[in-house]
């Protein structure tokens, strides 16, 4: 049984009286442990898919299932709990909280979960070592490079051991060398930890490193390498 299933999912945004389709009749199944990239140009619907899977948005029609949870219709409180325990987010612009240190940012979800401070710090220290940013724990985001900030964001996404990590253009703000390094790191984490990675990109070098590529255009699925497309 796939971990993530989108079945004929449509999402239409409303701008006043104007209906803007972001995703149309989109179906996708992702198995646990996959490392999948959603590829396509800007406005193709990649972020919409990630938002729907992450429970940040609701579909206009169709279903979005993650495990046995119907993410598209679950009540807000269930969705908050789902995001807290089962999903990790990595954003294009890192979105670290500026007033917290790198370690505090990484342990933020653990704090929300009520994990005791020593346990939080132990897990974050472990992740920082794995992500090669050990020693930067007490730095503020403003004192870190883009690559370091994104590694902290990855640590934050993985700290609570989620089922799935959703990354929206995680390398878009990084130079090509750092972007490739980060992709390799994410692949290694995927292999080592067995976490499902679903991320979006329009960068061919990034797309080339994915095991499965799902291509979107104008909100429709146009190719899926897993299906031989």
């Amino acid at each position: 049984m796939p971990l993530i299933t989108l079945d004929r999912t449509t999402k239409t945004y409303r701008h006043g009286s104007l209906a803007v389709p972001a995703l149309t009749d989109f179906s996708l199944a992702v198995e646990a442990g996959e490392f999948t990239v959603l590829a396509g140009p800007s406005g193709s619907g990649k972020t919409t898919v990630l938002n729907l899977v992450g429970g940040l948005d609701r579909p206009s029609s169709g279903t979005v299932m993650v495990g046995d949870l119907d993410v598209g219709t679950a009540p807000a409180a269930i969705l908050a709990d789902y995001r807290l325990h089962r999903v990790g987010f990595i954003f294009q612009s890192y979105n670290l909280i500026p007033v917290l240190t790198a370690a505090e940012n990484a342990e933020f979800t653990l704090m929300l979960q009520g994990v005791p401070r020593p346990e939080r710090r132990r897990r974050v220290t472990e992740l920082f070592t794995e992500l090669a940013i050990a020693g930067l724990e007490e730095r503020r985001p403003a004192d870190l490079s883009g690559g370091q900030q994104q590694r902290v964001a990855i640590a934050r996404a993985l700290a609570a051991s989620p089922d799935v990590v959703l990354a929206d253009e995680p390398t878009a703000n990084l130079d090509s060398h750092t972007a490739e390094e980060l992709l390799d790191l994410m692949r290694a984490l995927n292999a080592r930890r067995g976490v499902t990675f679903l991320f979006s990109s329009h960068d061919d070098r990034v797309i080339g490193r994915a095991r499965r590529v799902v291509r979107l255009e104008d909100g429709r699925l146009v190719a899926d390498s897993a299906a031989g497309g």
């Binding site: 940040l56 948005d57 807290l84 954003f91 979105n95 909280i97 007033v99 917290l100 933020f108 979800t109």
Partner: protein, 410 residues
């Protein structure tokens, strides 16, 4: 890192804005505390002066006397005076007789208020009589000595040692006169009092009016004004078996003073409300701006799994921290200001006349505060509560953020 630490650091993202808001809250607490304490001090002084020269903290009258000060409504205190003196917390008990009369000198005559008093007891508490030299006070209850208001003395062209005749209506309806000699002169600063006051021994006044052993007022001075609510029921119990008598507090016996203080404090309260309202608007502005600047961050926090309620609590926690720190600073400043106003006070001698009258008593031009710690604590709690109230809308706003929208648009 804890929620408190996150809230505290968030509060200081815009250091200048937070400092300005904190200063506004702290200064408002200081102003409100200091001015309240100053008012309480000034009112306490006025009340003390008023009750000592006037009706006492508590008083006993014949029913209806206060309505028109009808001199026929007198009563014989009997054992009541001694019983009241025996109550705990009583500093002095002053039996008095008030008689409308006519004072005549060789040159002129004036309508006066003849007051029959117990000289030693009055001198012990009355601030104007205390200032008289030893040989300027009434010698006993029955002497022909008179203490006279300064203006009346001048109007009648009298001087200490000179004689005057006082005529009053006897209980039998006839007019009776007494020859008195001026022994002392008081100057209260209150024109009406100084122009009509003539004080004699109680027995002399009672003899003139044909009401021996009777009085119109049993004025009671307490050791501490705050004991009034405790002593009043005991006094009411003592007078319960004398149905013609009523025990009243100074607010009933001296409504002019009580109302003047009420009116003055009401206007001050209005200013306090305005100050606190302005501060509340400042807090709303600070927290709302802080929330609006962080909508994207709130979207991220929600995406990471926080509930909207948790976000709301975070904003309220920021407000609580802001309010608590500001309250601590404000209390410190308020205490310093009050200390200065208690120890040094504000001298208005150069600005107001020394005989300025307020509510029937002379306004002391040196204003001094009194510590009202319970009220200081209460206003501090109110301000913290107001800060939390001001944070409600920003908190609700933060809780309404939708993560996808926030990250898309901010």
């Amino acid at each position: 890192m804890s929620a408190i630490s996150y809230a505290w650091r968030s509060l200081w993202r815009n250091r200048r804005r937070t400092l300005i808001t904190l200063a506004a809250i702290a200064l408002s607490i200081m102003l409100v505390q200091a001015f309240h304490n100053l008012s309480v001090g000034v009112y306490a002084r006025m009340i003390d002066d008023g009750v000592r020269a006037g009706s006492g903290h508590l008083a006993v009258y014949r029913d209806g006397y206060l309505d028109g000060r009808e001199e026929t409504l007198s009563f014989a205190p009997g054992v009541l005076t001694a019983q009241v003196r025996a109550l705990p917390g009583i500093a002095q008990v002053l039996p008095r007789l008030y008689l409308p009369a006519l004072a005549q000198s060789s040159y002129d005559s004036r309508g006066i208020l003849l007051i029959g008093v117990e000289p030693a007891a009055e001198r012990a508490v009355n601030p104007f009589l205390k200032e008289l030299p030893e040989d300027g006070m009434l010698r006993d209850l029955d002497s022909r000595d008179a203490v006279i208001g300064k203006r009346l003395l001048d109007d009648l062209k009298l001087a200490v040692g000179l004689k005057l005749v006082v005529t009053a209506q006897h209980r039998d309806g006839t007019l009776h006169s007494e020859l008195l000699r001026v022994r002392g002169v008081v100057k209260t600063g209150i024109a009406d009092v100084d122009g009509s006051l003539l004080m004699v021994g109680r027995d002399r006044a009672a003899q003139l009016a044909g009401m021996p052993g009777e009085i119109h007022e049993l004025a009671i001075i307490l050791d501490r004004a705050a004991d009034e609510s405790r002593v009043f029921p005991a006094l009411a119990t003592l007078t319960a078996n004398r149905r013609e008598l009523s025990a009243v507090s100074w607010t009933t016996a001296m409504p002019n003073l009580a109302n003047a203080i009420k009116l003055d404090y009401a206007s001050q309260k209005f200013i306090f409300v305005i100050i606190l309202l302005i501060v509340t608007i400042g807090v709303v502005n600070t927290l709302l701006m802080s929330v609006m600047e962080r909508l994207r961050e709130f979207g991220v926090v929600l995406a990471l799994g926080s509930s909207p309620a948790r976000l709301r609590r975070l904003v309220l926690l920021e407000a609580l921290l802001l309010g608590t720190v500001a309250a601590a600073v404000g209390c410190l400043l308020g205490a310093l200001a009050t200390w200065y106003l208690v120890e040094v006070g504000i001298d208005l001698k150069s600005l107001i006349p020394e005989t300025l009258e307020f509510g029937g008593v002379v306004f002391d031009p040196v204003l001094r505060a009194t510590w009202d710690l319970a009220w200081m604590a209460r206003i501090t709690v109110y301000v913290i509560g107001l800060t939390l109230l001001a944070a409600l809308y920003p908190a609700i706003k933060a809780g309404r953020v939708t993560p996808a929208e926030a990250m898309r648009h901010y």
